[in-house]
């Protein structure tokens, strides 16, 4: 009797410690306000570049969705653009073909459709790993693109659906020439999504995902429903990518089949790797650095830019496997060690 009592007491203490650990990690830390302050400051400092600013924020959102599955759950996909494209086309087609141009309900519809697509494809694809999974995700994105090309009477093909118009936000705030409205709109959506993603990764569910990434056999062994967890996170990430795609169509007022390109899947992966995977803010750093560099260098010379991106990738793999944020952490740790007496 006494033995089982102490055992339950010990078990309770362990559970408390685990809960305490999760709660502590979830607590807000001051440096986390920095990206948001920068985003708001950018609104005032670069107020004539807000169209570009919206694209950066959309890139952050897209990279964040990939971080959920790649950085936390360790699913390597080469077809994440599929969900971005689905979201982009849900909004584009409903505006062009059905005249449904209310922006916020469009975003919700995009999230639902992309999420459903993520659920349906993830259910099958996540049974596989390694090269097979890479090829299946890649083939899914290309098949969607080819299907769109096959019915170019509906999708507009590679010429796209140009000149889409959307209603003002809440029926009040209209699109302006400098993209101020849309920047704030995208920033607000990003903040909501970020809050949601942060809750997920610091929850027991997020902990289980990290476990799957680190050692899938052990997770099976302790009875974690691995496949269900993976499909769940894949669905969530697909929905977020769909929202990013929907915002992409709304801010650009046009969409073409190139959103499904392999380049688009590769680009978002490069952004995330550049910033650092599995650390939430890697998406912010990576997407911003990538897009600012791209904006500057691709105007100078697209060839030079492509070479630079290739070189960045090679150097990142060889010397900075944890991305720019990883480098910062290393530098910080080194500095602390030196400053200690």
């Amino acid at each position: 009797m006494a033995a089982s009592e102490t055992r339950t007491a010990a078990g309770q203490a362990a559970r408390d410690r685990a809960a305490e650990f999760l709660v502590r990690r979830h607590r807000f830390r001051w440096p986390e306000a920095l990206p948001w302050l920068i985003a708001i400051a950018a609104f005032f400092v670069f107020s004539d570049r807000m169209t570009f600013g919206s694209q950066v924020l959309i890139g952050v959102m897209f990279a964040l969705s990939l971080d959920l599955i790649l950085g936390y759950a360790g699913i390597v996909t080469l077809g994440h653009a599929a969900f971005f494209g689905i979201g982009a086309y849900v909004v584009g087609l409903s505006a062009a073909r059905f005249g449904w141009s209310e922006p916020i309900s469009g975003v919700v519809a995009a999230a639902v459709v992309a999420g459903l697509a993520g659920f349906a494809s993830g259910w099958f694809l996540l049974l596989y790993r390694g090269l097979t999974l890479l090829m299946l995700t890649l083939a899914t994105a290309i098949m969607l693109q080819e299907a769109g090309n096959l019915r170019s009477d509906i999708s507009g093909g590679y010429d796209g659906l140009p000149g889409l118009t959307f209603q003002p936000l809440f029926g009040v705030f209209d699109y302006d020439l400098y993209g101020h409205t849309y920047y704030l709109y995208v920033l607000a959506v990003l903040a909501v999504i970020f809050y949601f993603v942060r809750r997920i990764v610091y929850s027991p569910f997020g902990q289980a995902l990290t476990g799957i990434r680190e050692n899938v056999q052990r997770m099976h062994a302790i009875g974690s429903p691995v496949h269900r967890r993976l499909v769940t996170v894949y669905t969530i990430a697909a929905a977020i990518a769909g929202i990013a795609g929907a915002l992409f169509t709304q801010t650009n007022a046009y969409v073409t089949l190139t959103v499904f390109d392999f380049d688009n899947s590769a680009k978002v992966m490069v952004m995330l790797i550049l910033g650092g995977t599995g650390r939430l803010y890697g998406a912010f750093v990576g997407a911003t650095v990538y897009m600012v560099l791209e904006d500057y260098f691709s105007k100078l010379s697209p060839t030079f830019w492509q070479f630079g991106i290739g070189l960045l990738l090679v150097l990142a793999v060889l010397f900075a496997r944890r991305g720019l944020l990883g480098l910062l952490e290393q530098a910080d740790a080194g500095w602390r060690r030196r400053s200690k007496p």
Partner: protein, 290 residues
């Protein structure tokens, strides 16, 4: 009715020629992936590199088409060795993701470099007289270049089959694909074996790149556009299997050609549908180990 048969023969012939191109270019990738499990997305870049060597040799230096193919394959095979020794080797034990990133990076750098020197406009290559026009086989005539591809492919398959199944080195490669640690413990130098197969595979890819110029035209983006096809052939065939790669190249080559003849608008849709179906049923490909 004879007209229908005529179309069927044309499709089969073109499909076969296409399959030979796919096989020649992908077989090296399959063997190196089977040996080291290394996801090499720069394989298409070696093929593209070979193609441009052929363009330069024939156009600028006036070397014949067939000798240029040989020289380009040997040159690219030699160039690939330092890449394997100094870059790839560092990542054999890393994750898929890191290998994907390194090799995509290399492919981007290669595309940019060749765009800088050759420009983005598709290149063509001057063919000798005997490869132009048609060749008459009695009952009907076929385009000579595709006939040449089929003959060359068949010859290479025989050579590779002999080397793989009948020689000492082939036996060592098969042993290492089956069980690398066991092969190492009986004294096979798998590292050196890998360097050799990598060089041969890259050389064959360069040959494929040279042969592709006449089929599709050559631009630097060849390295990425056709890479997807090579990876598909490897994944569907099964890693490290000669037989599997050949079967996959035949199925995909003939399927794709049929789709393009009968439903030109559908483009590549059917080939990817076939891939998804095959991989869902047999995740390790036709002859891969589960």
């Amino acid at each position: 009715m004879p007209q229908l048969a005529n179309i069927a023969v044309s499709i089969l012939f073109d499909g076969l020629a296409y399959a030979m191109f796919l096989f020649i270019t992908s077989v090296g990738l399959s063997v190196t992936m089977g040996l080291m499990g290394f996801v090499n997305l720069a394989h298409g870049a070696f093929a593209m590199c070979g193609g441009f060597f052929v363009v330069s040799l024939t156009r600028t230096l006036g070397v014949g088409f067939v000798p240029s193919l040989v020289i380009a394959s040997l040159a690219v095979g030699a160039i690939s060795i330092p890449f394997e020794r100094y870059l790839y080797r560092r990542l054999y034990k890393s994750t898929d993701l890191e290998q994907v990133l390194l090799t995509i990076g290399l492919a981007f750098m290669a595309i940019a470099t060749f765009t800088y020197f050759y420009g983005p406009i598709p290149k063509s290559v001057p063919l000798p007289a005997w490869l132009q026009g048609d060749v008459n086989l009695g009952f009907r005539s076929f385009p000579s270049y595709r006939a040449f591809l089929i003959v060359l492919g068949a010859a290479l398959i025989s050579v590779l089959w002999y080397a793989f199944e009948q020689t000492n080195i082939g036996a060592k490669i098969r042993a290492a694909v089956d069980n690398r640690r066991m092969a190492e413990s009986v004294g096979i130098n798998v590292d050196r074996l890998f360097t050799l197969t990598f060089a041969v595979g890259s050389g064959l890819a360069a040959l494929g790149g040279g042969l592709a110029i006449q089929l599709f035209g050559l631009t630097p983006s060849f390295a990425v556009i056709y890479l997807v096809l090579f990876l598909i052939v490897v994944a569907v065939g099964g890693l490290g299997s000669l037989k599997g790669t050949l079967l996959a190249a035949l199925v995909l080559g003939i399927f794709d050609t049929t789709g393009k003849y009968l439903m030109a608008d559908a483009g590549g849709f059917f080939i990817y549908a076939v891939v998804v179906v095959v991989l869902l049923i047999k995740p390790a490909g036709f002859y891969g180990r589960e």
